[in-house]
Amino acid sequence: MIQGIVRTGASTLHVIGQLGLAVVMLLRALACAPNAKFLRLVTAQVYFLGVLSLPIILVAGLFIGMVLGLQGYNVLVGYSAEQSLGTMVALALLRELGPVVTALLFAGRAGSALTAEVGLMKSTEQLASMEMMAVDPLKRIIAPRFWGGVIAMPLLAFLFSMIAIWGGSLVGVDWKGIDSGGFWAVMQASVNVYEDIFFGFLKSLIFALVICWIALFNGFYCQPSSLGISQATTKTVVNSSLLVLALDFVLTIFMYG
């Protein structure tokens, strides 16, 4: 009993300590003025985190859109409301699936890569040697990766939503024969730029911040060994996926209450 309390206390302190470290890391990394060289580093990270994630995002988006179209059609046709398929697909994607699924895929594809890369840099003393060359690894390594990820992920979410809506229209219009004019017009009547597209973008931006932060923190403070790196990578994927789902619920309450 006493032991349980002691253990709870210890792990609470541990979590608070970790949070503090993470905040300090992020603040130090971001407290720097961007210059041309920094922008080049960010661009390179947009490539590694964004462009190289495109295949998985686009393929996943297409299939999710098509499944959504098919399932939605089968339900809606029972109420002769198949015209509303466009609305259903578009709202589901823009508000929820676009940001959330993109975030989950991004955590698996790019978040894990970030943690592993930074963790390996740490365990091979590359980060320490950078410090000795008077180069701050927080600014040279962490900051560009953070910004690169934060820029890349919302863009990926747009592409995901777009291709998924197209996938939904492929099933609904081209296969099941919903009138294409109706499909798009009903969608347009109910989708709102601010409430749906902008809020969806806001969600994906917040998810991107969370994923990049967790991934870089786990890499930067991992145990410098192969076991440590593998644990840190797993932790990144598990923690950021769970946090994305939990945050999505909270954000949905605030946005659509």
Partner: protein, 265 residues
């Protein structure tokens, strides 16, 4: 001779394990100072303390008159421009070529035109005898070559102090000879101050101007290589001559062996 590094009454503990207690140590400008000691004594830690990557639990460390302990992050990075540290692993960037590795600190700190940069990097590589290897990838190098490239990178910013962490560990006799020669030559030709941390007694005594021997959280002997060789302290003799048993026992402290065996029966 002015002191470049001065450590005063410094203690350091990690995870409740005390590594240093009341350590006093000075490093004079322009000299090669060696810090000897058995492995696991925290020699690498000492270098990281001087570089400000670790903070002592008490005491003061000064570099060129300024305290490393109380320096702000920004001041610390300013100080590190005047320091170089050669890591045991070399810690090169594996995805970059030898040339880019050496050019890295220059590109980060100075806006140099490409031809100027090229000349500078080639000079540094020539100094370590590896100008011919400039287009190789860091992963293609042998251990000895990697260490020499890392040395070229460490001197790229023309530091005042260069610290070598176990430069001879795991080297074949030829590359060991090369490194000994490099450390001595660079110290004289570039007017550097060098700190060599090692447990390879013979090589170190050959090049050092002044030697500290660390054991048991403190310094057990100090002096010129001749002083050290003449010292009759038991611990020192065991370490210098490499005797398996002595004041440092062969057995790590443990409970009684026979008792342990019988207790499990």
């Amino acid at each position: 001779m002015p002191q470049l590094v001065a450590i005063k009454d410094m203690s350091f503990a990690r995870d409740e394990r005390v590594l240093f207690q009341g350590l006093d140590l000075t490093i004079e400008q322009g000299k090669i100072t060696a810090i000897l000691g058995p492995s696991g004594i925290g020699k690498t830690t000492l270098l990281k303390l001087i570089a400000g990557q670790l903070t002592p639990s008490s005491g003061d460390i000064r570099f060129a008159g300024e305290s490393v302990v109380t320096a702000s992050r920004k001041q610390l990075f300013q100080m590190r421009r005047k320091m170089g540290l050669l890591f045991q692993s070399g810690a090169l960037f594996p995805e970059l070529t030898v040339f880019e590795n050496v050019a890295f600190p220059l590109r980060e700190h100075h806006q140099l035109a490409e031809p100027v940069l090229r000349t500078l990097v080639q000079m540094k590589l020539e100094a370590v005898g590896l100008r011919g290897a400039e287009s190789m990838l860091a992963t293609e190098l042998s251990g000895g070559m990697a260490r020499r490239v890392a040395l070229a990178r460490a001197i790229a910013l023309d530091p005042e102090l260069i610290m070598y962490d176990e430069p001879f560990a795991g080297q074949d006799p030829i590359s060991m000879g090369v490194l000994v020669k490099l450390i001595r030559d660079l110290n004289h030709s570039l007017g550097l101050t060098s700190v060599v941390v090692s447990h390879d007694v013979q090589e170190v005594l050959e090049i050092a101007d002044y030697v500290y021997v660390l054991a048991d959280k403190k310094i057990i002997a100090r002096g010129t290589p001749e002083d050290i060789a003449a010292n009759q302290d038991e611990k020192l003799v065991q370490f210098i001559q490499g005797l398996p048993n002595g004041p440092v026992p062969f057995h790590y402290p443990a409970s009684h062996f026979i008792k342990d065996l019988t207790s499990t029966l």
